[in-house]
Point group: C2
Chain length 404, copies 2
């Protein structure tokens, strides 16, 4: 699992090979070899042992599903919108992933620049400037993208023709999330026909991702939602095949449901991303007995410093909205019994202590588990990899940013 | 109001003078002179006319309060955690601000690097590495900082002595927000005595900021909360003066309450920051009749592109959690009647349309007003200044980041 970038220094003269100019020249909160106590805060730290176990567990589970009666072509294509890091993508590919997903052209550029050879933009790309960049990228790596509108198919084709590029195209269908995607069935088949007939485009199949199913808490709710998605995807595939058009792949699934899509026999690629880190919100999902989901460990933490101890029952730390996204709830506090993160402001997090006392003391470091990993990662510039209490790696979050 | 940086180009060879390496080398979403329609999205745009009017209105109001029976020494020290931009700070100082506030050492470094001469870190700074950076900065600019713990006072003094620097120090008191700050009265007086006796530290007065009062909706609620803050600050000042220690300033206030602290005669510096932009959450505050608050205009917008139109009643845009903070509610949609931003995921915002139809069309640009300006600005790397439909300025958000 050792990558060429492990052990990279933070100095501008020794930027990790897998980075781009976006963040590698920004000061890192630690140096290789530092003890945990010397990491400046707020910092995003990765417990490398837990992180590597998560990657190995997911790889093993996908291999097992492939071997045991599911789709024999089943592949893992982890979502890199979670980490935006070529260093992490390289480790996922080394463990057997076929490539990665991203959500934006800027992320795709960061990952291709960092050496990833096969990238699916699991989203629509709209607008002349972005399409031109996508086409330029399609000349440098194996690229695929989603569509859900005939105008977008025309513009995508024109951009590819102009650049002399080709790209794999998936028709996105709405399988219940109520976000992007044409309705399943006839509208999707019509769009598939248009793609198949468009120069520069290669029809690659269907994107059938059920985003809102990922955080349904009970196993039964998730099974029911994905059963509907499987039916819609299979029915749409049949309609497209009836037009004489092959449907090479059906892609979708997330960390909350990948075992259901993986066992369906219908899906051929799984897009789970959060499994590498497991955030506090995913940990609230009930797990099916014997599932690999239940084995994932928290590997991502926000390291905070206690910067005020005004009264015995309150500690204030330096992690607020600008270091931890609160869209899926506040961070949890795994290492201090009876401590709850009860309020965030821009640069402060208030911890309420059930057992008032002198601890944690002013200046103490506290680990927090983010409520939602993806937007929290997006607030930081570096992953600080830690093993046995010391900093082992510094990975730039090359794809960070709003993503135009 | 024209700064030396207006008209700066986005190329690395012509980085705006007021920037540091943090974001100026990151691609900007537009070029000077571009029409609004050519700005790539998601982008943070500033309506320069409204922005300049907000700055002028605040400056005029503070001058009027100073002249009319309030504290004759009253000054505006706008909070730069809102914008993290030396370019904007320069415009506030040019309009009469005495300097700016920041919340973190990293922000202070970005602003001093960008030419700001007087910076208050309106927060506690804890930890050896940060204190050393603060001391280095105090040799380059007029710096002040807050304290609320005797151990921190000792460490701060040691860091200043080691660097051969001096710094102005404010004792922070908790006037009702329940976050940082010692209790008013005796504990604050004890800390003031310690500061006054510490080498390298110059006791500068009290920080008495009531954060949670800013968004109380009614005028009466805010008046009541600030009346309590004024009483606590005045009482604490009296106790410190009784020890023979002068209290040169009392600093606090935000955009929601500055007119109350400003009229109190007790506060000498006002820290309002959001007034330059006015976000959707502040716009939900009721305004006192005849107040300057009521005159502030929305000047900050997130520019989005409609990237999916799957069904007539839904448009999906490219602004989600990674381009707009949702901690104080979703963005509002000022330019499309009957459109509501009803759901965010990482890279998507779902607009529900009361009048289903073809508009907005795929590819259309849509302006959104952020729910909360500070953490939204923190997600972006550039302010795109717009006037009369064209890009006039590009200002790097130099202090962006979690802020270690």
């Amino acid at each position: 699992m050792q990558s060429p970038n492990a052990g990279a220094s933070t100095t501008a003269a020794a930027v990790p090979a897998g980075s781009n100019a976006r963040s590698a020249d920004i000061r890192a909160p630690a140096r290789i070899g530092d003890p945990l106590s010397d990491i400046d805060t707020p910092a995003l730290i990765v417990d490398l042992d837990a992180f590597e176990r998560n990657i190995a567990r997911m790889a093993a589970r996908v291999a097992a599903m492939r071997a045991s009666g599911g789709n024999p072509a089943l592949q893992l294509r982890p979502h890199a919108k979670t980490h935006k890091s070529p260093d992490i993508a390289a480790r996922q590919v080394a463990a057997g992933a076929v490539g990665v997903c991203v959500q934006k052209v800027a992320e795709a550029e960061a990952l291709v620049d960092g050496g990833v050879a096969d990238v699916l933009v699991s989203n629509e790309v709209v607008g002349r400037a972005k399409l031109a960049r996508l086409a330029a990228l399609a000349r440098r790596a194996r690229l695929s993208v989603c569509v859900d509108h005939p105008d977008n198919v025309r513009q995508l084709s024109a951009a590819m023709v102009e650049a002399g590029a080709t790209i794999d195209v998936l028709v996105e269908i709405d399988v219940g999330a109520g976000r992007c995607g044409v309705p399943p069935g006839e509208p999707a088949a019509a769009l598939a026909s248009q793609v198949a007939a468009s120069p520069g485009l290669c029809f690659a199949g269907l994107q059938a991702y059920h985003g809102s199913a990922q955080h349904l808490r009970t196993v039964a709710e998730r099974q029911q939602a994905i059963a509907g998605a499987v039916e819609k995807a299979a029915r749409t595939r049949t309609m497209i095949e009836a037009l004489g058009i092959a449907v090479p792949k059906i892609t979708g699934a997330g960390t909350g449901t990948f075992e259901i899509e993986g066992a369906s026999g219908v899906y051929s690629e799984l897009q789970a991303g959060s499994y590498v880190f497991l955030d506090a919100d995913y940990a609230r999902n009930h797990a099916a007995s014997g599932s690999t989901f239940a084995q994932f460990e928290h590997s991502l933490f926000i390291l905070a410093t206690v910067m005020s101890r005004p009264v015995p029952e309150r500690a204030v730390c330096d992690v607020g909205h600008k270091a931890s996204s609160s869209d899926s709830g506040y961070p949890t506090v795994p290492d201090i019994e009876g401590a709850t993160y009860v309020g965030a402001s821009d640069e402060h997090g208030v911890l309420r202590l059930e057992r008032p006392g002198p601890l944690p003391a002013l200046g103490d470091k506290v680990r927090l588990i983010p409520g939602h990993c993806d937007p929290t990662v997006n607030l930081h510039d570096w992953f600080v990899g830690v093993r046995a209490g010391r900093v082992e790696s510094l990975w730039p979050i090359s794809g960070r940013g709003p993503g135009f």
